[in-house]
Amino acid sequence: MLLFLLFAAVAVGASLMVVLGRNPMHSVLLLIVSFAALAAIYVGLDAPFAAVVQIIIYAGAIMVLFLFVVMLLNAHTEDEGAAGPTPAGKPLVAGVAVAAALVLELAWALARTRGTSGRTGGGGADASVLQSVRELGGVLYRDYSLAFEVTSILILVAMVGAVVLARRES
């Protein structure tokens, strides 16, 4: 429980600083910290494979891509105009209202229904089944095989699209 609170605090803190920080380079690095905290929470949720996949793909590949783009475009020197990174006024009010509405609504719903807070054991969840990569592979390739194939085509399309979009007109 203590570990969960620790990692949750790190994740929330890092995400807040990602959103509110001035320097995009620091935002990228703090997002990596947030990913690592979430991966630790996944380990606590009996999903070690998901945690490792999160680190490999998200923190190890996608964020490197972000870093490259930030360095390539010199985004750390981009000043977002005289208003600073977070303008006051309508966007601020709207953003805070939506965010607060989301959190409060969920908290209210969770507090009303005693049912979810009682499901701590998780209805006979077998930790070893959840942790088994073999089981995961079976479900992925049997029940979700169509989604798997479609996703591979999606990645191919994204690769081709990214290369074409980022090319110089020469």
Partner: protein, 341 residues
């Protein structure tokens, strides 16, 4: 009887100290073997046959002045070597180096010689290796110098490209072994065929082994893939602006990454701690011998082969290594299905 947690703490401490000593041994043997290959003596002044040379180097580096360019981003400048060194040490945490042992009867029940036994150990090594890219990229960027930035970007793109072949050749071993846990992979390599040929995966996966070794060399930025630190071209690449202790951390990280890659290759392909003539509880001696052989091969490659040009390096990684690794995976999977291993 020693309680379990004391023994586990002892293992953690032993692995840490062993890694530091391994780095020292690597520094010494690199320079000695380089000298022998180049037909000269290596270091021979400090201590008998120059054995204390790495410790002299460490002392020298610690007492140097630690410089920082004025325009450098302070937090990132000092965080980068720390990140590199931490990732290098952390990757070794899931590598088993010995069989279950009761430490000569001191414990009630046997423990494995491994800091942490997770059942996705192979992927953890892979994940932490992909984190070590950040140390290099941050070092290059926060130094605010064009040599550093160029070296860092080159190194990062090289490491990402070869990570793919690394991962796919890992996947071939997983298909043969049927498990992600390094301990189980090593245990699947017990015994011998025909009484004298050991059941190592290198005989089942020769192409996979070659791809893994080459990708490992590229991942640790060693020659012939050490373009990012090419002394003749980029001053010193991403660690140009570093001196004293941060510089030492980068070198420590590089050597320990080499040791980790060699250890993982030993576990995956060369049978880990299994070997003839020794009882299982002394298997770690075999582990050391095999890892040492791979490390010697690394050093040998560095001082024998010329460096690849950067575009040759990237073309090789994408156009040769990745298709070969994918082909290897397909053939392995087909073999496992049809031969029913």
């Amino acid at each position: 009887m020693i309680p379990l947690y004391v023994a586990q703490f002892g293992i953690v401490l032993a692995v840490f100290v062993a890694l530091l000593l391994a780095a020292a041994v690597m520094v010494y043997s690199e320079r000695k073997v380089a000298g022998l290959i180049q037909q000269r003596y290596g270091p021979y002044l400090v201590g008998p046959k120059g054995i204390l040379q790495p410790f002299a180097d460490v002392f020298k580096l610690i007492f140097k002045e630690s410089l920082r360019p004025a325009a450098a981003d302070t937090i990132l400048f000092y965080a980068a070597p720390i990140l590199s060194a931490t990732a290098a040490f952390a990757a070794f945490a899931v590598v088993p180096f010995g069989a279950e042992t009761t430490l000569f009867g001191l414990l009630k029940e046997p423990i494995r010689l491994q800091v942490a036994d997770v059942n996705v150990a192979v992927l953890v090594v892979f994940a932490i290796t992909s984190i070590s890219i950040y140390g290099i990229v941050l070092a290059g960027w926060s130094s605010n110098s064009k040599y550093s930035l160029l070296g860092a970007l080159r190194s990062a793109s090289q490491m990402i490209s070869y990570e793919l072949s690394y991962g796919v050749s890992l996947a071939s071993v997983l298909v043969v072994a049927g498990s992600l846990s390094l301990t189980e992979i090593v245990d699947a390599q017990q015994g011998t065929w025909l009484g004298f040929v050991p059941r190592w995966f290198v005989f089942l996966q020769p192409l996979g082994f070659v791809i893994f070794m080459i990708a490992g060399v590229a991942e640790t930025n060693r020659s012939p893939f050490d373009f990012p630190e090419a002394e003749q071209e980029l001053v010193a690449g991403y660690h140009t602006e570093y001196s004293s202790t941060p510089f030492m951390m980068f070198f420590l990280a590089e050597y320990i990454n080499m040791v980790t890659t060699a250890a993982v290759a030993t576990d995956l392909f060369l049978g880990g701690w299994h070997g003839p003539f020794l009882p299982e509880s002394l298997g770690w001696i075999w582990f050391l011998i095999k890892t040492g052989a791979i490390l010697f091969f690394y050093i040998w490659m560095r001082w024998t082969l010329p460096r690849l040009r950067y575009d040759q390096l990237m073309q090789f990684g994408w156009k040769v290594m990745l298709p070969l690794a994918a082909l290897n995976l397909i053939l392995t999977a087909a073999g496992v299905i049809y031969l029913g291993n």
